[in-house]
């Protein structure tokens, strides 16, 4: 079993090696080669020589694969068939391709002679290329790939703004939307969308579905055509007559287009589904099915679901709806040849005229901002991804620096060989070319290793991904990503190969052929190597400081007091079918009945519901103001509104700071009582108790309404854990109209074990009510920490790799310095220097290099950490603690890297050293 598994892994790896060969050769002999290799490998394993076997096979594959490819090119140039028996192309004369083949063969032989060097160099470069390829695949899928809509460059999203209140991503009301749609003639088409949850019944089990609520032109505007049935037509959006509620008798049916997923899952892909009727808060008719994989790619600030289960054409009266009922998210397509700036100028004029008719808009600083859909979609995540990309570029640079240093050390050891070749008439270009060929082959093998690492890395990335990365599921290693890996390898080869090969080829014949040549012209080389080490220390320090800042953010984030206790708390959605409970009072009674049933379950401590729930991605904002707002509308500020049921605060574990919480008695139509959070209380009444005070809101009508504060609770983090968020007003759900559908149940036991009891409690009240979106509050909190955890893990991993490479680089340089200075050290010791002094000498040299690198790194970090500012929580990008701690840690690590070579130097036996001299 495990033997078989090992065999498949070995086979898969060998198949990668086979990629060295031209395709037709692989096709002809590949299968036999695999069989032969597997037998060899089995024999080798039996003799405990598996590593030797793999090393040999890798060298064999690269050498013969490259040779075969070059032969194939040569044959094509000369005509087929000739020179069949020549070995390695060595006896073939003339021709650039042949010279190249000779260089390649020479380079491979020379690398095979020092497998240790080759393996370290290939792995180092492979690590760098792998990290770059993995992150580039994210850059490509998330940032670069065009949106899967028709001419995506013409699409834009329109944000409502109330600049005086700091509100920048407000939705739009139907009448405002219609004004823009009618008047902005530079816009070819404008549609609008909104998503919500609703119970789906009829033609199957009741279930809760996510509904995409769109204008009939929406899919046409995006360029999406249903694969079955038809698209929406404008008559699908004809509003009901005034006063007729959707779903009530006499209302028009809702027209529905199914998502591919729901069609498969609920109807098994039945093509006869078109024309069927379902119940979606009233009768609804299925008219079509969307193509598989359609996603609503909207910026996170729009707070919309990305994959609604079904779509309905909105029957909204765009003329007579109130202008303060804002919920639509407008998306538009520019006319061909029109720029966004031109359209923006036109929209600005319309916004000014709308504001002139509405004092609220004027005082709030109303405006509409158009933004390209593609860049807006990724605006939040772009800094994270670019910071990560910067991090992996650093890792690759450090890897190049290390290999460059290895090559310099190696070149020092090969100076005699190169000098002999120069003496025998090898031109400098020729020698440079051969050395570059070595770099090229190292980089090529590094690219192979890198692509394998990237494939594993992408899998790990997908496991770690935060939910707010749009299109991350499309991440993968495809053609362009492979192209990037190859380009990175070529760039890396030049970067780490060119300097050492130029250096190495500049040999002074007499100097090098003479045994004493060693000490002579080494200064330029040493300077270069020192500079490379300083560079790597600096680069890795920058990365580690980035990682340190993310770590501090993560700690801050896990220490945040969110204003609720996320443990032992489960949340779920019970959507209420509005057609069956049309009156707010009926919905209130239903909610009260549900609460009684749930609280009666053994193990339940308390139960309550709210709309919206913290960290649910749903937002409901309104304004509030003190007495002066009655005369001066500019004194209004923005607050988060919540509609809650009794028991909500107890269930959430939100502490009451003053006054009292709601009781059933507050849930009558007339009661205008609210709770506020400490933040609002502090803003309106900084020096007095808020309890008993009255202030203005605008929740249910166009006019300001006065409400009375009965209690103050602690502030809840609602939209994210990282940001403190706005002041909050808690209304009774009854006051807002009965929309509290997200339940919170606190339990004395593991809350998920109560689910069956909760489901039957809900079913006992109304068998058609679905329980959906079950999540513990702890899950929601973990998810809210996801982006920080993601960035921390990745930057941390890359920082650790970078530090490891830099330490190895520092060690390597010191070790070879000690080797070169052994005669000098011998002389010093012969003249009485103590080994302690020698130890200090070497450590001082190492720390000097590291110290310079650390200093450069600290300055670079000061300049660069600003780019991750938006990802940091509770810590500034120039946090002195992080800078000091990472800097000091690095000094310690450098000390370790110096220690071994220094000890070796201190133990030099002067007699031996001088004899070497």
């Amino acid at each position: 079993m495990s033997g078989h598994r090992r065999r498949t892994v070995a086979e898969a790896l060998y198949r990668v090696l086979l990629l060295c060969y031209p395709r037709d050769f692989r096709g002809r002999h590949g299968r036999e080669m695999i069989l032969l290799f597997l037998e060899r490998e089995r024999d080798a394993a039996a003799r405990g020589k598996r590593i030797t076997c793999w090393w040999g096979a890798s060298v064999d594959a690269v050498r013969n694969g490259v040779g075969e490819r070059l032969d194939a090119v040569g044959r094509r140039l000369r005509g087929a068939g000739s020179e069949g028996l020549d070995r390695d192309g060595e006896r073939i004369g003339g021709g650039g391709m042949d010279a190249l083949a000779r260089d390649a063969a020479y380079a491979i032989r020379s690398l095979a002679k020092s497998p240790g060097f080759a393996a370290v160099a290939v792995l180092t470069i492979g690590l760098g290329i792998g990290a770059n390829t993995a992150i580039f695949s994210v850059v490509r899928a998330v940032l670069l790939a065009p949106l899967p809509y028709d001419e995506p460059g013409e699409l834009f999203v329109a944000w409502g703004q109330m600049r005086n209140r700091g509100v920048l991503t407000f939705p739009t009301s139907p009448p405002d939307f219609k004004d823009y749609q009618d008047q902005a003639d530079l816009v070819e088409e404008m549609g609008a969308v909104f998503t919500f949850q609703a119970p789906l019944t009829g033609d199957g089990e009741p279930e809760q579905v996510e509904v995409g609520f769109v204008t009939p032109n929406f899919f046409r505007m995006l360029g999406i055509t249903p694969i079955l049935g038809r698209d929406f037509v404008s008559s699908d959006g004809t509003p009901n007559e005034a006063g007729v509620q959707p779903g009530s008798p006499g209302s028009l049916p809702t027209m529905v287009i199914l998502s591919h997923a729901l069609w498969q899952q609920r109807w098994g892909g039945d093509p006869g589904v078109v024309g069927r009727t379902i119940e979606l808060q009233g009768p609804a008719e299925i008219v079509g099915v969307l193509p598989a994989g359609f996603e609503l790619l909207m910026p996170a600030a729009a707070a919309l679901a990305s994959a609604p289960d079904l779509w309905t054409a909105m029957r909204v009266d765009f003329v007579n709806s109130p202008r303060n009922n804002v919920f639509l998210r407008p998306v538009g397509r520019l006319r061909e040849g029109v720029t966004l700036e031109q359209a923006q100028a036109q929209v600005d004029r319309i916004a000014v005229s709308l504001a002139s008719e509405d004092p609220v808009k004027t005082s709030a600083g109303y405006a509409v901002r158009l933004a390209p859909l593609q860049s807006e979609l990724t605006a939040d995540v772009r800094p994270v991804i670019l910071a990560l990309f910067g991090a992996v570029v650093f890792v690759l640079l450090i890897a190049c620096a290390n290999v460059s240093n290895l090559l310099l050390v190696r070149a020092a050891g090969r100076r005699r060989e190169l000098a002999v070749r120069a003496a025998l008439g090898g031109s400098r270009t020729r020698i440079v070319r051969q050395l570059l060929m070595e770099s090229g082959i190292v980089a090529g093998m590094g690219a192979l290793v890198g692509v394998v690492l990237a494939m594993l890395g992408v899998r790990a990335l997908l496991a770690l991904r935060p939910d707010d990365l749009p299109r991350i599921a499309n991440v993968g290693i495809d053609g362009p990503v492979l192209g990037f890996a190859i380009a990175a390898a070529a760039g890396a080869a030049l970067l780490f190969g060119l300097l050492p090969s130029l250096q190495a080829s500049r040999v002074d014949l007499a100097d090098s052929l003479n045994e004493r040549g060693q000490a002579g012209s080494g200064t330029g080389r040493a300077l270069l190597r020192n500079a490379v080490v300083v560079g790597e220390v600096a680069l890795s320090l920058v990365l580690l400081i980035g990682a340190g800042l993310m770590m501090r953010s993560f700690v801050e984030l896990s220490r945040v007091e969110p204003g609720y206790d996320p443990d032992d708390l489960v949340t779920f959605e019970v959507a209420i079918p509005f057609n069956r409970y049309p009156q707010p009072s009926a919905r209130s009674e239903l909610a009260a009945a549900l609460r009684l049933r749930m609280e009666a379950i053994p193990g339940v401590v308390s139960a309550g519901a709210a709309f919206p729930m913290p960290l649910s991605g749903r937002v409901f904002n309104g304004r509030y103001g003190g007495e002066e707002a009655r005369v001066n509308p500019e004194a209004f500020r923005q607050a988060g509104y919540r509609g809650v049921l009794p028991g909500y605060f107890e269930a959430m574990g939100t502490r009451l700071l003053a006054g009292r919480v709601f009781t059933e008695a507050d849930f009558v139509d007339s009661a205008a009582v609210v709770l506020v959070d400490e933040k609002l209380a502090r803003t309106l009444w900084p020096s007095e108790s808020a309890v008993g005070k009255r202030f203005l809101v605008r929740a249910t009508s166009q006019e300001p309404e006065e409400v009375e504060v009965i209690g103050v609770v602690e502030h809840q983090r609602h939209e994210s854990l990282a940001a403190e968020g706005m002041e909050t007003v808690f209304f009774t759900d009854r006051y807002l109209g009965g929309f509290a559908t997200t339940w919170a149940v606190r339990a004395g036991v593991d809350p998920l074990t109560l689910l069956p009891a909760i489901r039957s409690a809900v079913g006992a009240v109304d068998a058609e009510l679905p329980v959906a979106d079950v999540r513990t509050m702890r899950d929601r909190v973990d998810e809210a920490m996801g982006p920080t955890r993601f960035a921390l893990t990745l930057i941390g991993v890359f920082g650790a790799i970078a530090m490891l490479l830099a330490t190895v680089g520092l060690y390597g340089v010191l070790a070879s310095v000690v080797r070169q200075r052994t005669p000098e050290i011998g002389v010093r010791m012969a003249f009485g220097a103590e080994s302690r002094a020698i130890l200090r000498l070497v450590v001082r040299q190492g720390l000097g290099l590291a110290g310079l690198g650390i200093a450069v790194g600290l300055v670079a970090a000061l300049l660069l950490t600003g780019v991750i500012e938006s990802m940091l929580v509770g810590v500034r990008p120039t946090d002195p603690v992080t800078f000091a701690a990472i800097g000091a840690g690095f000094v310690l690590v450098s000390l370790l890297a110096c220690w071994i070579p220094a000890r070796r130097a201190a133990r030099v036996d002067p007699v031996v050293a001088l004899r070497e001299e």
């Binding site: 060295c20 060969y21 050769f25 002809r28 002999h29 036999e32 080669m33 695999i34 069989l35 032969l36 290799f37 037998e39 060899r40 040999g56 096979a57 060298v59 064999d60 594959a61 050498r63 013969n64 694969g65 040779g67 075969e68 068939g81 000739s82 020179e83 069949g84 028996l85 020549d86 070995r87």
Partner: protein
């Protein structure tokens, strides 16, 4: 240099690479598949020459192209359901191998005449 001329004159293909000659040697006693060729070479050289897959199949490809070898039917292996391809010497292959052996023999003879092999255990 065309295929015809190669076929017509075995001497034109000399000298063979050591790998090619080893393969031809291994096949003089009958047809074999790749792994068997590898083992035969290993046994003859007492483990000093161990052909990796790439070296072996690249040489086989050249020998096939040159008409020195031919492929036989694939057939299943004993104790395994994998089918393998068998290789056999052609007349030309046998002639070339013989010519290479004679060439080497004359070189070795000359070496012996010059006393190069004296004192080399058993010579």
């Amino acid at each position: 240099m065309s295929q015809e001329r190669k076929r017509a004159d075995p001497l034109h293909l000399l000298p063979l690479t050591p790998v090619a000659f080893e393969i031809l040697l291994a096949l003089t006693t009958g047809e074999r598949h790749g792994y068997a060729i590898m083992r035969a070479v290993e046994e003859r050289t007492e483990g000093r020459t161990s052909l990796h897959a790439g070296t072996l199949y690249r040489a086989l490809a050249r020998l096939l192209e040159g008409g020195l070898l031919e492929e036989r039917d694939e057939r299943p292996q004993a104790g395994s359901d994998e089918r393998r391809r068998y290789y056999a010497l052609t007349d030309l292959g046998r002639a070339v191998a013989a010519a290479e052996a004679r060439r080497l023999e004359s070189q070795v003879g000359a070496a012996r005449d010059h006393g190069l092999l004296e004192g080399m255990g058993g010579a």
